[in-house]
Symmetry: C2
Subunit: 440 residues, 2 copies
């Protein structure tokens, strides 16, 4: 069989980069047998070429000079696995300008500067492939762009950050406080030394920006997404929610509303413990996609980690080498900002059910107080539960669930509740998300 040799240059010999090197060195025969492509790693660029990596590459491939890669016209594909947004952006631009197609796992960069980089790619008749940027090894980009292309995508609900899911699961099952669960995640390597982007929801927002661009065909900006992290979640709320049949997940949600607007948001969400997404444990990811033809499709697997992410990078290399990525990229039409600005829904308009927890002083008239505030804001109560046991200042926790209401009503009610003498501290509000379950 004739093999086509595909020459590859890697920038960024870190964790994912090492995984890619491992696959290219070890699975090259398997890939050649299945695809007819002989993937050949010709250059590995990193600032640090001294530190020993878990994976060895021949010394002559290693360099700290990116020009060696850029000047080698035989190299067709450049991998940007540096991460971050400043240096990586310049590297991607240089690769494209040097007429190399780019494969990347850099969700932060694409979420913030994707439209700019796509434009550079188009100018140079190149493509950028980024399966690895969303949900690691799960082939969700391919699934949305190719397998579900016949569907009008109506909604996506995703657990797309393994670190925060791991923390929430441990808070739930081990009754740990947020800080304890975070420390454990860090000790086990599930959270970075600086876990800010994971726990404040921004990493999920990066992925949602990319996924929703493809799903809805819009030029999504990061600023279109409402983002709330898990850093203020208390284990008490997880327990109270659990008693009512809800599991707490950090969800990334993209949804076409009935008025044609698209709402994009990342926030802690109570979902029914019966829903499949509630059973996604530990560092796993899952995305439920609702399509006009297919109904619900769910993708599940490892959303991060050296080898899962590296596998997705190699899949993209193959897709680029086959010429498929270029076509998908060329035919990816995103409706530009001026057309869609008013189609992006604002969080204030969101209609949702809410979980509200207030700490009430043990005195007469308390219920009358808070129920009047809710009533004043047209909020209808679906359930209320006063827990026994004392909080600080002799308070007792009262948990209220609401019928669907607009976010702005809740925001108003919370402000008014804070002023009440009978309530201590700020009410806790968590959205209850009723994910449709596609059932027979």
């Amino acid at each position: 069989m004739n093999e086509k040799v595909v020459k590859i240059g890697l920038v960024g010999f870190g964790t994912v980069g090492s995984g890619v090197v491992k696959i290219l060195l070890e699975n090259s025969d398997m890939i050649a047998a299945k695809t007819g492509l002989r993937l050949e790693l010709d250059c590995v660029v990193d600032k640090d070429i001294e530190t020993e990596r878990p994976i060895k590459v021949p010394k002559d491939l290693l360099t700290d000079d990116i020009n060696k890669l850029l000047d080698d016209t035989s190299i067709q594909i450049g991998l940007e696995l540096v991460g971050g947004t400043s240096a990586a952006k310049e590297i991607q631009k240089k690769l494209l300008q040097a007429k190399k197609d780019v494969v990347t796992a850099n969700k932060a960069l694409l979420a913030e500067y994707g439209n700019e980089l796509y434009e550079v790619a188009r100018q140079h008749n190149r493509c950028i492939a980024f399966e690895a940027a969303c949900a690691g090894g799960i082939p969700i980009i391919t699934g949305l762009r190719t397998g579900l292309a016949g569907n009008d995508i109506q909604a996506m609900y995703g657990i797309v950050n393994g670190t925060s899911n791991y923390i929430l699961c441990n808070m739930t099952t081990q009754n740990e406080a947020f800080s304890e669960a975070l420390a454990q995640a860090q000790a086990l390597g599930y959270a970075e030394a600086d876990p800010t982007l994971d726990i404040n929801g921004m990493d999920s927002a990066h992925k949602l920006a990319i996924l929703s661009s493809i799903a809805f065909g819009y030029e999504i900006k990061l600023g279109d997404i409402y983002v709330e992290g898990i850093d203020n979640i208390s284990k008490d709320d997880i327990r109270y929610g659990g008693e009512m049949g809800y599991a707490l997940k950090l969800l990334a949600i993209g949804k076409k509303e009935q008025d044609g607007k698209v709402s994009l948001r990342v926030h802690p969400s109570f979902i029914s413990t019966e829903h499949t997404l509630a059973r996604v444990n530990g560092a796993f990811n899952a995305i439920s996609v609702f399509g006009s033809a297919v109904g619900q499709v769910m993708f599940y697997g490892r959303g991060a980690g050296m080898m899962p992410t590296a596998g997705a990078v190699v899949a993209d290399i193959i897709d680029v080498a086959l010429g498929n990525s270029a076509k998908s990229f060329k035919h990816l039409h995103l409706r530009p900002r001026n057309e869609i600005n008013e189609l992006i829904d604002k969080i204030d308009n969101l209609v949702s059910r809410f979980y509200i927890r207030i700490m009430c002083k043990d005195q007469p008239g308390v219920i009358a107080d808070w129920s009047k505030v809710l009533s004043d804001h047209q909020i209808s109560i679906s359930g209320a539960l006063q827990h026994e046991g004392r909080g600080p200042e002799n308070t007792v926790p009262v948990v209220i669930t609401t019928h669907p209401t607009q976010q702005k009503n809740i925001s108003g009610a919370v402000k008014d509740m804070e002023k009440l003498n009978s309530i201590s501290g700020r009410p806790v509000c968590i959205r209850i998300v009723d994910i449709p379950e596609d059932k027979d």
Copy 2:
């Protein structure tokens, strides 16, 4: 924006065909906006052009003469949605010979004559796309071929026949007999008037043949697959298995064994009720794929039905029109039969745990009898449970679970047990499948 017009001819205006027409008529603008392709249905061929369909097409598109489609050189893509294997095979050949790419949902045809048809396609420099042939709306072909291309696929465990899953679920939750559950599935439209291929496992085998060809890169033949259906399953065994923590599923399994051989089989399987696949209910499908890099990835959704399957057909139309299918098809290298014959494992060599149920006469020495047979065949018992309650002829059911043992040992033991005076009837044997759960 410049749109590229893609002309399409459909053969087979049945259920899935109607769904495709519906999407092409209703979602054409959405698809054009997202991909730049204007899909245009130009010809609908069916033997019956009189019967009213739920979806209307302009009269002048309808014809009972396939030559109108074949002779129209402007039509680039032909959809074969006739089903069955004899007429459909000729139709696909004619389409390919007329220089049209083929999109199909016909798993039976591809499983039996795929290699022959692929050869015809290659001769005419055309491609055959078949995302809809496996698991309906779930993008599993794309996932395996593109998204997981960087992985060496080690195993697949799939629930790929919704009818049998629906029947087994109802037998489990409603304690229905097989015949009752089947009748209900037929009444609700989940089973065909002739459900033979669904319940005897052949439909699952068709899908496994296609999926394992792509996953392992082998020219798989239907005869390579060991097939057992659900038609002999009794609700008692489902109940006894349930008491031991197992759910019964009809699994399609493709697995690379440690000796490099591939075992391919479809049979009723007891799996842990804790495994994600045990929670796949009703007519849904799910496939767990284990890749060398990614670990476990699961795809879940509707595996059949008019619109889910039609959505997959339209996805293929888009992929063909973009030129991607042609490249994937051209680069799909399957190792030919003469290389792989001895790599296909025989069921006799299978090592598995087993559930065995025997009906014992209530007399002394029974346990000594059957335990000696198992011991004679080197089968080690992991659990045994004698249920109270009487069967026919004053017998009591005894359920035995084994440690891993070879299929041929079990087959020998079953033969010997049948000869025992203390046992009535034929022992029931169901494999216990320990699907690895990729956990943290």
